[in-house]
């Protein structure tokens, strides 16, 4: 176990796999000597050299598109897209190419690639550099979507994502890069599709991931002081989704609040609500609640941005409304 930041943990996950498997390489804008816009790949160029950590031009379509081709030939690319907002510039490569090759080719191809990209608001980076967008990717059959909310998960999910034989969107959160935690050494794998109860409780289940996991844990502390015992479940990966874990938790608490930073309409909270309504209706003794951002682009002004981002207060309010 080593104490490290979420950012170091992502890097450690990549490093472990790059050492173990010579087919793993990193390509993206400014990822080499510069270490990436947020410093996540810092040092990897020095460690692994210019053949395995490569700067690309500003050409998102070919960053993701080349990864599809390379992965189809058996390499394991980690393609970095500097902000998840820029995925719009390479969606065809993900949703029509990477995601569908295996199926369209009758199972005769595999595309073991990772697209690593940061998401999230709170930096005053405005409408085109602050989004989350995970439900874009969960809506593409053939792609897996991973959203770590702690340092240990950041490492374990990275290793699992690289080892997975499918295209994986690995979406890290900008606000979490400095978050520290104990991270297991060596080949630590967190399997995709396995949720984690981050806080046990009996009165209400909160399902939250990424930055909102941390906000929900903080809200749960405050609610505990008021006598409400919250269980916080982190799905860690949205596709595949550990719905059994969610249903089990709701069967225990009878109440469900889903928290996400994406806007509410067509956010992944809608999917989780639907699953619980379909398969766990009898467990519920209150309506399902969603806490999410309003259906707007992300504003620049700090006061507006803070209004936009789901807050601890809003989570607390939503939970209390169920009692």
């Amino acid at each position: 176990m080593t104490q490290m930041s979420y950012m170091e943990a992502i890097r450690d996950g990549m490093r472990v796999e790059m050492k173990r498997d010579s087919g793993v390489y990193i390509a993206g804008e400014d990822v080499a000597q510069f270490g990436g816009c947020f410093g996540v790949t810092a040092g990897l160029y020095d460690e692994f050299g210019p053949d395995r950590v490569m700067n690309t031009p500003i050409s998102e379509a070919v960053i993701v598109g080349h990864a599809v081709g390379a992965a189809a030939l058996g390499l394991r690319p980690i393609a970095e897209i500097m902000f998840v907002d820029f995925m719009g510039c390479c969606m065809d490569e993900l949703h029509n190419q990477a995601a569908k090759m295996k199926y369209m080719f009758g199972g005769k191809a595999k595309v073991p690639m990772v697209v690593r990209t940061p998401c999230g608001a709170g930096l005053g980076a405005a409408a085109q550099h602050s989004q989350c967008l995970e439900s874009w990717f969960t809506h593409i059959a053939g792609v897996k979507t991973v959203m770590p909310g702690t340092a240990a998960d950041a490492k374990g999910l990275m290793i699992a994502a690289i080892r997975d034989d499918n295209p994986v969107m690995y979406i890290e959160h900008k606000q979490l890069l400095g978050l520290t935690g104990d991270v297991p050494d060596g080949e630590y794998v967190v399997p995709l599709g396995k949720a984690d109860i981050k806080r046990e409780g009996s009165d209400v289940t909160i399902v939250a991931w990424s930055w909102m996991l941390q906000k929900s844990l903080a809200a749960a502390e405050k609610l505990a002081a008021e006598g409400i015992n919250v269980e916080v479940l982190d799905p860690r990966t949205l596709v595949p989704l550990d719905k059994d874990a969610i249903l089990k938790s709701v069967s225990k608490t009878g109440k469900l609040v889903i928290v996400h930073e994406e806007i509410k309409t067509s956010g992944f909270g809608g999917e989780i609500s639907a699953i619980v309504a379909e398969e766990g209706f009898d467990y519920l003794d209150a309506p399902i609640k969603r806490v999410a951002a309003p259906d707007t682009p992300i504003p620049f002004s700090p006061i507006l941005e803070q209004t936009f981002i789901p807050s601890e207060e809003k989570i607390i309010e939503a939970v209390k409304a169920l009692f």
């Binding site: 804008e29 400014d30 080499a32 000597q33 510069f34 816009c37 700067n55 690309t56 031009p57 500003i58 050409s59 998102e60 379509a61 907002d85 820029f86 719009g88 510039c89 930096l123 005053g124 980076a125 405005a126 409408a127 085109q128 550099h129 309003p294 259906d295 707007t296 682009p297 504003p299 620049f300 002004s301 700090p302 006061i303 507006l304 209004t307 936009f308």
Partner: protein, 322 residues
């Protein structure tokens, strides 16, 4: 000759206003007055100035993440810009956009842009509308060397060339795309070579020579207004600062940095020398221009600081046109 004097003095004023605004913005950002990203235009002032000197109010520009200079050169008001940097309700975008999204559609400024290379298709579309409506207005797309690697660049030049659209593509080649040098991100030294692939004129010019830029832009804009189609102009320059404020620019060779910031190369110092040499102005005249710009910028800061924050309910407005 009187006209030339007027023009050069006007361009000098614009360059000084850009430089003064940018220096102030850097200091204010460093002092924590506003969050977000600030991409400084210091060193590249001649390009926006030389190009926009040839535009009418009814012409259009599409800017970039490094947009302050383009906006000022197209007539953007410093107080409304500064208020936007501060995220205030009086800013150009009511505080919703910040540095990377300042726009003034009434002035033909179709926005700074946070997505690299996104302005070129939009400028192409603006040029299409200008032609469709049978006006002689034109659109300018500003973009960097890095952006010329995006598909949007190639698709825009191609479409504009076959439809003979009144658009001028102005590449600000400052040698860098964040930390990636031009030689590492493209296999050519002149971005203008790419014009050949689309059968349109392409020129490479000194991006720190405002007169040369103005002349090249004049020709391209004339051509566009006449209906002869697009031109690619590459202006070779250097950004004085890091990619954004907070980036120390450690990847630059200090010798290059020193050379480009020297009086011999600095775009603003070069105009000053020219003005004095041609006896269009004396030192006192130049000092007055600088003092006026500082006064204007100071007033803009005061306006921004005294302006109210947006009301939180503003989060929900202006999502759709109703």
């Amino acid at each position: 000759m009187a006209e030339k004097k007027e023009q050069l003095l006007e361009m000098y004023k614009t360059m000084v206003r850009i430089r003064t605004f940018e220096k102030e913005a850097i200091d204010l950002f460093a002092a924590g007055k506003f969050p977000g990203f600030v991409h400084s235009y210091l060193g590249e002032e001649a390009i926006a100035t030389g190009v926009c000197a040839n535009l009418k109010d009814s012409d259009y520009i599409c800017s970039t993440h490094r947009g302050h200079g383009h906006l000022i050169a197209k007539g953007g008001k410093l107080d409304l810009m500064m208020a936007e940097l501060y995220g205030k309700s009086t800013g150009y975008c009511k505080g919703k956009g910040g540095s990377m999204h300042i726009a003034d559609v009434d002035l033909g400024i179709l926005g700074a842009n946070g997505i690299v290379g996104a302005g070129m298709p939009i400028a192409t579309g603006a040029a299409f509308a200008c032609k469709y409506r049978k006006t002689d207005n034109v659109a300018i797309a500003f973009f960097g060397d890095g952006a010329s690697d995006r598909a949007t660049f190639h698709e825009s030049l191609n479409l504009a060339s076959i439809w003979k659209l009144p658009v001028v593509f102005v590449c600000e080649n400052n040698g860098w795309a964040i930390s990636n040098s031009q030689e590492n991100h493209q296999n050519i030294t002149d971005v203008s070579d790419r014009a050949t692939a689309y059968g349109i004129p392409g020129v490479s010019i000194d991006g720190n020579d405002v007169m040369a830029i103005s002349e090249a832009a004049e020709e391209a804009i004339k051509r566009a207004r006449k209906g002869d189609g697009p031109t690619l102009i590459e202006c070779k320059t250097w950004r004085h600062r890091g990619h954004f404020e907070g980036d120390p620019g450690a990847y630059k060779d200090p010798k290059d940095q020193e050379e480009w910031l020297s009086d011999a190369k600095d775009a603003l110092v070069r105009v000053e020398k020219k003005l004095i040499e041609l006896k269009y102005a004396n030192k006192a005249d130049l000092d007055k221009v600088k003092a006026d710009a500082q006064t204007e910028v100071d007033a803009a800061v005061k306006f921004a600081e005294q302006s109210p924050d947006p009301d939180p309910s503003e989060v929900l407005t202006d999502v759709y046109t109703v």
